[in-house]
């Protein structure tokens, strides 16, 4: 179970936001039903290919969401969960809010991709509230997304602006869901999280030893647990 550099994939440099989005997109299995959270996860849609045949869900009531609308295609009645005008693809469907959240809460989505403040070693997610005194809380669909999807992927930078790891032993921010995150995509590495702790699938411009120095929880290398080739769910 020791960290060995040769047991996992590596690349020369940290990944930018778009490279990371491309990687997440590539990891989504063909035919999947996916919900992309507001912010960085939205970038993933730019890299999904037609061959993948991915269906996007937006929790305000639609399956088969297309790209952001521009020009004459903008229709105020057709928006995504971030309230951005979007388009409709052939084979789309509309439904009311309870039916839409039933899709999510009933475990029918294959993957949900979310941003995060922190992810704990066992997959607890904190992404809804800083907990700062006086801050007005707002949760939206974050807790439903965290709890409902079969797989919850997080996209974030590994470190805060102050240099602290966002992968933590236990979340210090208020949690959104308990033990829900299955995979964390960061600029420096991809992590698999679960009841057994954190496994590193690949690193970007950093050695495993250097990574372990940044992250305050024990890291396992993917090969050690037979996950080398698990690039897609």
């Amino acid at each position: 179970m020791s960290l060995t550099e040769t047991s996992i994939k590596t690349s020369d440099a940290p990944l930018g936001r778009d490279d990371l989005a491309r990687l997440v997109a590539k990891d989504i299995a063909p035919g999947s039903f996916v919900n992309l959270g507001i912010g960085q996860p939205t970038l993933v849609s730019n890299y999904l290919t037609e061959e993948q045949n991915i269906t996007l869900h937006t929790e305000n009531g639609m399956l088969g969401m297309g790209p952001e609308a521009t020009g004459d295609d903008i229709d105020g009645d057709l928006i995504n969960a971030g309230k951005i005008p979007v388009t409709e693809l052939p084979g789309a469907s509309y439904f009311h809010h309870a039916d839409s959240f039933a899709i999510m809460r009933g475990g029918h989505l294959d993957i949900c991709v979310l941003g995060a403040f922190q992810v704990s070693a066992t997959g607890d997610l904190a992404n809804w509230h800083t907990g700062a005194p006086g801050a007005i809380p707002a949760v939206g669909g974050a807790m439903d997304l965290a709890t409902g999807a079969k797989d919850v992927f997080v996209m974030m930078t590994l470190l805060t602006r102050e240099g602290a790891s966002k992968i933590v032993d236990a979340c210090t921010y208020p949690v959104t869901g308990v033990g829900c995150v299955t995979r964390v995509y960061t600029d420096k590495a991809v992590f698999l999280t679960g009841p057994d702790g954190v496994t590193v699938r690949e690193t970007f411009g950093i050695t495993l030893e250097e990574l372990q120095e940044l992250v305050p929880v024990p890291l396992k290398a993917a090969a050690a647990v037979g996950l080398q080739d698990q690039a897609a769910p």
């Binding site: 105020g76 009311h96 974050a142 807790m143 308990v178």
Partner: protein, 229 residues
């Protein structure tokens, strides 16, 4: 009994002080702007409002809050870049907030309409929003007990109504409309168009007329795009 009225003022005239009022819409899509404006004008106060948000900018629900007519908000996402009226009231301790995960909000509204006295859901388990709530291990997961949200009145927007009050919606403007219509004692709907009974295909009716009490036609309210333009 189903009524068709000629003005949004007449539509909201029966709303009493102290009512719980559900307001449809997610963002601008499906917001019954004209009914909200009429509610502001009619003077009803001490309201509990159920909406996904807590008002934006200087219109509609935000103005109701600014004028001190809302004693409590039940919503999932009050804080936005332009929710200044809510923010001010909240920080001044002048408005109560029940913050509800969006899926719980939808399911609790649905439960009210469907006669469900309460339900267990995994959403929110282990979070501060479930503090003090009953929990139970069911279907292999810890779940939280949630109760229905009933309302005296629902204000919603649909695309069309027929003579029986059957409704169809448009795209993602459907959102909370159908479940709020079922959860409220009185459902008041603004539509872009009223069509003859029989003009809606029975296969495609989204809200059956049994859930509708008052219909008012508001010209040009079919698309939020038109409102925004």
């Amino acid at each position: 009994m189903l009524n068709f009225v000629d003005s949004v003022q007449a539509a909201v005239a029966g709303i009493k002080d102290g009512s719980t009022v559900m307001i449809g819409g997610f963002g601008n899509a499906g917001q019954p702007f004209e009914l909200i404006d009429a509610l502001l004008d009619c003077g009803a106060t001490d309201l509990t409002v159920v909406n996904n948000n807590a008002g934006q900018g200087d219109q509609g629900l935000a103005l109701l809050i600014k004028e001190g007519r809302v004693k409590k908000m039940i919503c999932s996402f009050p804080r936005q870049s332009d929710s200044w009226h809510f923010d001010a009231k909240y920080k001044a301790g002048e408005i109560e907030l029940e913050l509800v995960p969006q899926g719980n909000l939808a399911e609790r509204i649905r439960a009210a309409g469907a006669g469900i006295g309460g339900f267990f859901t995994p959403t929110g388990y282990g979070t501060t929003l479930a503090e003090g709530k009953e929990t139970r291990f069911l279907d292999g997961k810890w779940q939280v007990f949630e109760t229905p949200i009933h309302a005296d009145v629902a204000l919603i927007k649909a695309l069309k109504a027929d003579g029986k009050g059957n409704l169809v919606y448009r795209k993602t403007a459907r959102n909370f409309g159908p479940i709020m219509a079922a959860a409220a004692k009185q459902t008041i709907v603004q539509v872009a168009d009223i069509v003859p009974t029989g003009a809606l295909d029975p296969e495609n009716v989204v809200t059956p007329g049994i859930y509708v009490n008052t219909v008012v036609k508001v010209a040009g309210s079919g698309s939020a795009a038109e409102k925004a333009a």
